[in-house]
């Protein structure tokens, strides 16, 4: 234990001490009368950069074709000047699918950001705590008995996710309980639900099972505005709420007692955050299937870009969107037969997970 550091009496030291920078890092204070805001320039810069990346992804995805459609054909389809089939292909299939992909990715990114921060653990993503399995099981179960074998009822995703979350929370002893219990119970519950999903699938005939299987690894195939429009409305509500939750979650980096004496209603914040994460990942899975890795990676990458002091809600959304957008486009063109987006992200996920676990990043991911 070293001796306490007593400030020197000399004038230069005192002056220097008085000027010590205590403004939050990577931010600039903007003040007007009684109002004051912090402009997080580093996060903002990251957001601009990510938006540019998404722009490039969208551009590439728009012109990426598995059937060898040329650039000029794609352009004419995009502008509506090409022939009927081309215009339809680009405007009615490709564009909405890209949009849905971006939104699904954003939802997964935010959901992961919320659950990771809530549990104080980088591995606590909706994939792991049973929410995705719940959503998957609900959607798969809906296919049973339907003659078409089509995945249609995306809204069953959030319902299944909510049901699974309730089971996990009930078993873990409440939404306010520590992250570790939620994790362990979540792993158990998701294994059970996953087994149910497999059981249901194994009893289906090959045709139905094949169609469903494609979806259960995460696929955006055939998704258009019929799901894209409701999805955009859902996000319009959930994203602002997530931003509010994110600002409160910052205080949960203390222990609960400290957060409470600093004016945070800990139970309420936990419950709200969990509900948001369940809703976001449930909707995303209901539409795109359980696309793995995005909810794990997006918040980690966003955290690196925007600095450790904030809960990177927006950053996670943008990274998630870019990831899903790029993976889906890649899956469409990389092989003669389309590879589902979930397979691409799984392939990327393994190495990334190892990087998170073993990488020289213990300072920021200390609890991972």
């Amino acid at each position: 234990m070293s001796a306490p550091e007593i400030p020197e009496a000399g004038a230069p030291e005192a002056l220097k001490a008085a000027q010590a920078d205590i403004t939050p890092p990577d931010s600039t204070a903007v003040r007007a009368g009684a109002f004051s805001w912090l402009f997080p320039y580093r996060s903002a810069l990251a957001a601009v950069g990510l938006t540019l990346v998404i722009g490039v992804v969208v551009a590439l995805a728009t012109f990426a074709s598995s059937t060898g459609m040329s650039f000029s054909d794609s352009l004419s389809g995009l502008l509506g000047t090409g022939d009927y089939a081309t215009v339809m292909l680009v405007q009615d299939f490709r564009l909405p699918r890209i949009a849905v992909g971006l939104m699904v990715g954003a939802a997964l990114g935010i959901a992961g950001c919320l659950t990771q921060t809530l549990a104080g653990n980088r591995l606590a993503t909706p994939d792991i705590i049973g929410v995705n399995e719940g959503a998957t099981a609900a959607v798969v179960a809906s296919v049973v008995g339907s003659s078409t074998g089509m995945i249609g009822d995306w809204w069953l995703g959030p319902l299944g996710a909510a049901a699974a979350a309730m089971v996990v929370v009930a078993c873990a002893g409440g939404a306010g309980s520590g992250g570790y219990r939620i994790l362990v119970v979540g792993i158990g519950v998701s294994t059970v639900i996953g087994a149910v999903t497999d059981l249901v699938m194994s009893r289906e005939n090959d045709n139905t099972a094949g169609g469903v299987f494609l979806w259960t690894v995460g696929s955006l195939s055939g998704r258009d505005w019929s799901v894209g429009t409701p999805l955009s409305f859902v996000l319009l509500v959930l994203v602002p709420l997530s931003l509010v939750a994110g600002s409160r979650l910052q205080l949960l980096r203390f222990d609960d007692d400290m957060a409470a004496t600093l004016g945070v209603n800990v139970r309420r914040v936990r419950a709200l955050t969990l509900a948001l994460a369940v809703a976001l990942s449930g909707v995303a899975v209901g539409i795109g299937g359980p696309i793995t890795f995005v909810a794990l990676a997006a918040p980690v990458v966003a955290g690196r870009l925007s600095g450790p002091t904030r809960v990177p809600v927006i950053g996670s959304a943008l990274v998630g969107a870019a990831l899903v957008g790029a993976a889906d486009a890649l899956g469409r063109v990389v092989a003669p037969v389309e590879i589902p987006v979930g397979v691409i992200t799984s392939v990327l996920g393994g190495p990334f997970l190892l990087w998170v676990l073993f990488g020289k990043n213990s300072e920021q991911t200390g609890k991972a």
Partner: protein, 308 residues
């Protein structure tokens, strides 16, 4: 702001009440120290005052507002608490930690006001941590860390400040430093209530010593009136001599050499060993070191106290 506790009963289901009908009034600008044996209910009392543990009956009032009727945020404007071993966010800097103290005062349209900035500077200055502002909290020594936590609590600018054993992990020098700081805080008009394990520091640094035993207050008043051989016997079951400090006449507790009757005698040998070894164990058990430093002059019969 005056802190008033009326008929407060608080406890855990299935157990006898940890705090049993406590009445207290602590006026503005005073330092009150709550002392008592382990499990006497002093921590539960502090938690009930700071809204961390809901009392089964009774009221806690800050000024004339019922603390338990306020919202979490409004309560955080009135009362700040420094818990015994608080957990900081990873990799937080000192300035970052102290900034968190401003959270109850911030909102969507008030994210970093001039008042916030002034309060943080003031708190850093008062605790002598300005020079540490950009350092990481986990890179500091225990004494420095405790001053930083205190700075955070001060930055909250509450009229009432609660401290749960603020010196339990500190050596004698740093403990005195923190307690002197506490006096300054009270001199600036805040009401301070702290739980202390050490009767001697309670006697020297508090205006009022509140002694608790089995959930009830058994003595409450200025140290020189309250700290008596009878009280020590009642609280800890040991005989002790009360001396007067030559400087200011504040009471000093010197336990007698006789083994205490309530504890099993076979423990004494082990306890004596612990007392002797404790100075070497600094890294693992800093709280023992504090105790040991104060107890080395004492006969070895008295077991080493555990904080809690």
């Amino acid at each position: 702001m005056q802190l008033t506790v009326e008929a407060l009963t608080s406890g855990y289901p299935g157990h006898t009440a940890a705090v049993d009908g406590v009445d207290l009034t602590i006026p503005s600008g005073q330092v009150a120290a709550i002392v008592g044996p382990n499990g006497c209910g002093k921590s539960t009392l502090l938690r009930s005052i700071s809204r961390l543990h809901k009392p089964s009956s009774g009221t806690v009032r800050a000024g004339d507002e019922d603390v338990w009727q306020l919202t979490q945020r409004r309560a955080a404007h009135r009362i700040a608490l420094l818990a015994q071993s608080p957990q900081a966010p990873e990799a937080v800097t000192v300035a970052g930690l102290v900034r968190y103290g401003r959270h109850p005062h911030q909102g969507l349209f008030r994210q970093w006001s001039r008042e916030d900035e002034a309060a943080v500077r003031e708190a850093l200055e008062a605790t002598g941590t300005t020079d540490l502002a950009t350092r990481r909290l986990d890179h500091l020594s225990g004494g420095q860390r405790q001053r930083c936590w205190l700075a955070m609590v001060l930055a909250q600018q509450t009229p009432i400040v609660l401290l749960d054993e603020p010196t339990s992990a500190l050596d004698l020098g740093h403990a005195v430093e923190v307690l002197s700081l506490v006096r300054e805080v009270a001199a600036a008009g805040r009401t301070v209530v702290m739980v202390l394990h050490d009767l001697a520091s309670a006697a020297r640094y508090a205006d009022t010593v509140i002694a608790m035993n089995a959930g009830k207050i058994v003595a409450n008043g200025p140290a020189r009136d309250v700290v008596t051989a009878e009280l020590v016997k009642e609280l800890y079951g040991i005989d002790a001599d009360i001396l007067r400090a030559p400087g200011d006449g504040s009471p000093v507790v010197v336990p007698s050499a006789k083994a205490r009757s309530v504890r099993a005698p076979e423990k004494t040998a082990q306890a004596a060993e612990e007392t002797v070894q404790a100075p070497g164990e600094t890294a693992q058990a800093p709280e023992k070191t504090v105790q040991a430093a104060e107890e080395t002059a004492q006969p070895p019969e008295k077991p080493v106290k555990q904080s809690g």
